[in-house]
Structure formats: C-alpha cells, structure tokens
C-alpha cells in the first residue's frame, strides 16, 4: 500500500461514489421489503388479537337496550361474525388490503372516515410537540454535553430526569389543576370553543386550547432527546479527532459545530425516529387527559365502549406508522453515515 502506484487514475475516486449510491438504493429496497413483511404481520396479528379479546361485541352493543336473541343474531350476521373463523379471516384481509377498515359499531360510520376526521388534530398536537421537544432537547443536550459538569448541565440533566420519571397523565392532570382550574388561563378540554370565531380568531382559539396538552407532551418527550444528545456528544468529545481538530487551530465553537455536533447528531436522530412509539403513546394519554379530539382519544374511547372494529382500525394505523418511521430512520442513517453506507 505504500508503493507509489504507477497508473494514475484520478477517475477512480469519482467512480467509487457510484456503487455507494447503488448500495443505498438496494438497502432502501430491502428495508422497504422488511417493512412490508412487518405490516403484513401486524394485519394478521391484529385479526387474531382482537378475536381473542374477551367479550362479545354484539352483546356489548346491546348494553342498555332491549334486544331479543333473534335481533342479536341478525346483528351478528350483518357484521359477518357468524361465519367460520377462517372465512372471517379472509374477509378481514381482503377488506384491509382495500383500505376498508369496516364500520364502527358505536358511531355507525366507516372507521376510515372517523380516522380521517381525527388525524388532523393528532398531527397538529403531536407534530408541534415533537418539533418543540426535539429542538429544545437537542439544543439543551448539546450545550449540557459540551460543558458537562457545569451548572447548566446539572440543571438540565436534573430537570429532564424528573420529567422523564413523571407519568404523563399525572403531569397532564397537574397542568390542568394549576393552569386551568386555579388560574383559569387555559381551557381544560377540547380543541376549540363551542362558539369559535372564524379566520385568524379560530387559529388563536385552537392555539390557546393546545398550550397545555402541548406542554404535557413536550415535557414527556424532550427529556429523552436531551439525555440522548448529551450522552452521544460526550462520546464524541473524548475522541482523538476532536484533539486533532483543536491542534489544527479550530476554535472551540468551530470544533463543536463542525465535528462534535454533526457526529453526535447521527445516533441521536436515529434514536429520535426509533422511539417514535413514545410519541404515539404520549399522544394517546395526553389526548385522553385533555379530551383532545385526535386519534389517541378515538382509540381511548373505542377501548371504553369497547368498539372492536374501531380499536382494530386505529391500532393497525398506529402500528403501521411506527413501522414506517423506523424504516425511514434506518434509511436516513444509512445515507448520513459513510461507514454504514459502504458496509
């Protein structure tokens, strides 16, 4: 490797970029294949899971109403619940693949329509909270890790450990008690007032309703981003290439911005994606506490009834989105890290 090579081949280096790109495509395709397989398993699993649950959906529906056994049978037939299990399974698979998630027993509407009504509210709350939690957590984790042991570090780590260990619903109730019941600064439930104004007033009204649920969700999510960022930055700070960069004459903040932070972000971003399940879990709880009309609250309501088709539909949707996010994380990591890329 030290003998000078006679054949000068300046093109060789450029050519090397080609196969790497191809590798990424192949990797993405294989990951997508894996994701499809997982989704298939979720669909199959969902069917059996919800058939194993105790309770007869039709009888639950009849609660509080007087129905003759004949009426119950009729209802069962209408829902296809009198067919053999295998036929039910085939029907279920076929419908799911056609994006037909069935109709809700409770609301008497297609599950997909119900989801469509609710998904916007969830995306608004979860998306806003996620953006705030990620930016705040990463920024604070970066500062804490770079100056580890400092007062800022001890304060940040302390706060985030407390928030980390507080149960979500508890934090939500505390916020409700203090800022809604006590001070009456914020509404206690819902996404808008009954007599909501139009236009810009409407936006303000929604924002006003969103403050408390958003704080609750940020409080739960941001601690993990902070802690992950801090520890991956600490890993980088001890590395020799940081010393090399200093020895070349880079200023402290240049070392941080050009070397330490980009490299620490890599594992952090992946973890952010990987733990998307936390966001989902947090959203379900927060929406339930604040009666935020999103998917989480829909799911929660479906459990209380219990409304099997609705539960099953929302469950599948949530599981599938977690799988898709994780797949996306794998591919993004692959593109960002040259070490993984060529492996």
């Amino acid at each position: 490797m030290t003998a000078p090579l006679e054949t000068a081949e300046p093109a060789a280096a450029q050519a090397a970029a080609g196969p790497a790109r191809l590798g990424t495509l192949r990797y993405a395709l294989s990951k997508a294949g894996g994701a499809l397989l997982s989704i298939g398993m979720v669909i199959v699993g969902t069917f059996f899971l919800f058939r194993l649950l105790p309770g007869d959906p039709v009888r639950n529906l009849a609660q509080g109403r007087n129905m003759t056994p004949e009426q119950l049978d009729l209802e069962r037939h209408r829902l296809g619940l009198d067919l053999p299990l295998f036929d039910q399974f085939l029907n279920f698979i076929g419908q799911t693949l056609r994006f037909d998630l069935g109709a809700s027993y409770e609301y008497k509407r297609p599950v997909l329509d119900l989801i469509g009504d609710r998904v916007g509210a969830t995306l608004l709350l979860a998306g806003t909270s996620l953006v705030i939690a990620v930016s705040l957590g990463l920024w604070q984790g970066m500062r804490a890790g770079w100056r580890h042991g400092s007062r800022f570090d001890r304060f940040s780590t302390g706060t985030s450990l407390v928030l980390w260990s507080v149960p979500t619903f508890w934090l939500g109730l505390l916020l409700l008690l203090v800022f809604s019941s006590w001070f009456q600064w914020f509404p206690s439930r819902g996404i808008q007032d009954v007599d909501a104004p139009d236009g810009f007033g409407y936006v303000l009204d929604v924002a006003h309703h969103m403050v408390l649920p958003c704080i609750a969700m940020v409080g739960v999510l941001y601690a993990q981003y902070l802690l992950v960022m801090r520890s991956s930055l600490l890993d980088e700070v001890g590395q020799d290439y940081i010393t090399t960069a200093r020895a070349k004459g880079l200023r402290d903040d240049e070392v941080r911005k050009r070397h330490a932070v980009p490299n620490a972000l890599l594992p952090t971003v992946t973890l952010v994606f990987m733990r998307i399940g936390f966001v989902v879990g947090g959203a379900v709880t927060v929406e339930a506490v604040f009666s935020w009309p999103g998917l989480g609250e829909l799911f929660y309501a479906a459990i209380r009834v219990p409304d099997f088709t609705l539960m099953q539909g929302t469950f599948m949707l949530i599981a599938v989105s977690v799988i898709l996010m994780n797949t996306l994380a794998d591919v993004v990591y692959h593109i960002l890290d040259p070490r993984v890329r060529s492996a």
Binding site: T2, A13, A16, D240, T243, T244, K248, G249, L266, S342
Partner: protein, 336 residues
C-alpha cells in the same frame, strides 16, 4: 534495536544552538477528586531544528501531558513553553498562529480522523481555517509528501476505506498541510501493525531530511527510539531522569531506571525486575523519586558508594535542557 535505519545529525551541541521548541521548568498539575496529580513535575527539554527527540517512559509517567502542553493544548501550572525563543502566548490568535508551526500526530489514526470526513476534507481543514491559498494544491502535495500517491486516488475516500498505515499517513498529511516546523507525535506507530511501523518511521525520517522537520516522538518502545531519534529523554514520574544522544543513553545508560527499561529488551543479558508500587503522580516520594523501586539502592550498591542516605532524603536537581548525556542520580554522580 540492532539496526540503524538512517544516519543521524552528527554534532549534538550544534542542535541546541538552534533550539526551536523548548520547555522551561515546566509543571503541569491536575486536581481530580481533591487530589493533586503532578503529571509533569519540572521538565527542561529542548528540540533543535531538524532534530528528532524521543521521549520514553512507562505508562502514566506524563509523556502525553508533556506533549499536549508543548502543543499549547494544556496550560502549564508553572514554567513555560518557548517557541523560536519567545514564550508561548495563550491568546486565541497567538495560539492559532502557533498551530502552523507545531503540529500533532496521535497514536490511533482511526480515532484521530473524523469518520465522516473524506481524506480531502480532513487534510484541507487546516489550510482552510488558516486561509492558505490554493487549497487543492496544498492538499495534493501534503498527501504526496506523506506517501499517498497519486493523491487523487485518495481524495474522496473515507477513513474506514483505508488501511491503518494509510490512515496514519492521512493524519500526517493533515499536519504537513500547514507546513509546520515541528511534529509532536504521541506514540505514532503503537496502534499499527508491526509490518507498517517501519514505513511510518521511515516517512518521519524522510520528512526530517527533505523538509528539515523536527519531531518529538513519544514512545515507550526503546527500539523505536533507537531507530529514529537523535536524542532520547527518559521520563519517570513527571520528570526527565536521563537524557542525551541516543547511542550513549541506550548503550551506556547511567540512570538505574533507564538500565531497568533496557534490561527487558531481548538482547539484554539479565533482566531487572522493578519492585515496589507503580508510580503515582499524586504521591511523589521524597529524595530521589525513583528510590522506592531502585534496584541499585535495593541491592546495596548505593550504600557501598555511600549515597543511600541521599537517595532517600536529598532531592535531585532538575536536569537542564542540555544536549549532552546527563542523569539525575546520586549514584551516577558519585561513581561518574
């Protein structure tokens, strides 16, 4: 340590007259968990233009701390680092200018390179922040001088695509790109395969011959010191206990510690096994700092020469930054 790969600069006194980098009465202390560690505890050392000095000593004796302090990465508790006859200033501008003169090569090339930078980016970083003109040209010639030819073949590679030896050459190229006068290399080949160690050492000698580069090479490998260095300084517990031209120190060592280090080489007739606790910079013994482990004192030879009381009780002077052979030992002083 049987073969010499290169001829050395002949006159040791001449090198000192052109001292480039110098440590004067340097002390570096760390406080960890309430205890003061005197990692560097009074060091005088000079490095002449075009000279290669090896700094040897066992693990934990303060070699890395001394090297980092010479680079200005660590601040001395007292004493000073001098470059070109001027004391080193620690303002950010002055330090940045100093970086173009004195560059660093670390032990583990894999860790020394940012895994997400290509070879080009790694080597170009120095010239870029120092705003050197013709960046691409500078990078190419630095890679060529470091033995990566043709440079174009390596520019877009990532560190993980290179062998250990090639990575260390990239690190060296990154240092060379700034056209420094001095390289401080901390165990530059210790993490490399035996087969490529010689190549990297030969490269350093070639750089000295071609570019007049000086180097301080930290190592605990005496054979390596023999092969590459003009002078050697032996460090024990934060202080240099023996120094001088490499032939003299390594063929006729005067300090018992140097003798013990040399005795573990395969060619050595008998092995000296050091007893006593391993050295601890938070508890430096009084008298001669080596006395608790010294085989000369333990065997009674020091008592025969009548210096045993001084070994235990009398501090030794800090050795001056001389190019001549010298040892900080009462017994060596008494027996000549």
């Amino acid at each position: 340590m049987t073969e010499t790969t290169e001829t050395r600069t002949a006159d040791p006194v001449a090198t000192v007259s052109s001292t480039l980098l110098e440590a004067r009465d340097l002390h570096v202390e760390f406080t960890s968990r309430g205890r003061r560690a005197r990692a560097v505890d009074g060091v005088n050392l000079s490095l002449g233009a075009g000279e290669i000095v090896a700094l040897v000593g066992e693990s934990g004796c303060g070699k890395t701390t001394l090297a980092r302090t010479l680079l200005g990465l660590e601040r001395p508790t007292s004493g000073e680092v001098r470059y070109g006859g001027q004391p080193l200033k620690y303002g950010s501008k002055a330090l940045k200018a100093y970086r173009r003169q004195v560059q660093l090569v670390l032990q583990d090339p894999t860790g020394s390179l940012n895994p997400r930078q290509t070879v080009y980016e790694a080597v170009a970083e120095g010239p870029r922040i120092h705003r050197m003109p013709d960046e691409a040209e500078v990078v190419n010639s630095a890679l060529a001088r470091a033995g990566l030819r043709p440079p174009e073949r390596f520019l877009l590679r990532y560190p993980h695509e290179l062998s250990g030896g090639q990575r260390q050459r990239v690190v060296i190229a990154g240092a060379l790109a700034l056209n420094p006068k001095v390289l401080v290399a901390d165990e530059p080949v210790a993490s490399l395969d035996a087969s490529v160690r010689g190549e990297i050492l030969a490269l350093m000698l070639k750089l000295r011959d071609d570019l007049g580069l000086s180097a301080l090479v930290v190592t605990h490998d005496l054979g390596l010191a023999w092969n590459i260095a003009d002078r050697v300084a032996v460090m024990y517990l934060g202080r240099i206990v023996e120094s001088g031209p490499v032939e003299q120190v390594l063929t006729a060592p005067r300090h018992p510690y140097t003798q013990a280090l040399l005795s573990v080489l395969p060619e050595s007739p008998e092995r000296v096994v050091l007893t006593g606790e391993p050295p601890d910079p938070t508890r430096i013994p009084g008298g001669c700092r080596f006395h608790a482990r010294c085989q000369i004192l333990a065997s009674g030879k020091a008592a025969e020469a009548g210096v045993d009381a001084r070994c235990r009780g009398e501090l030794l002077d800090i050795l001056p930054a001389s190019a001549l052979s010298q040892a900080a030992c009462h017994y060596a002083d008494a027996t000549g």
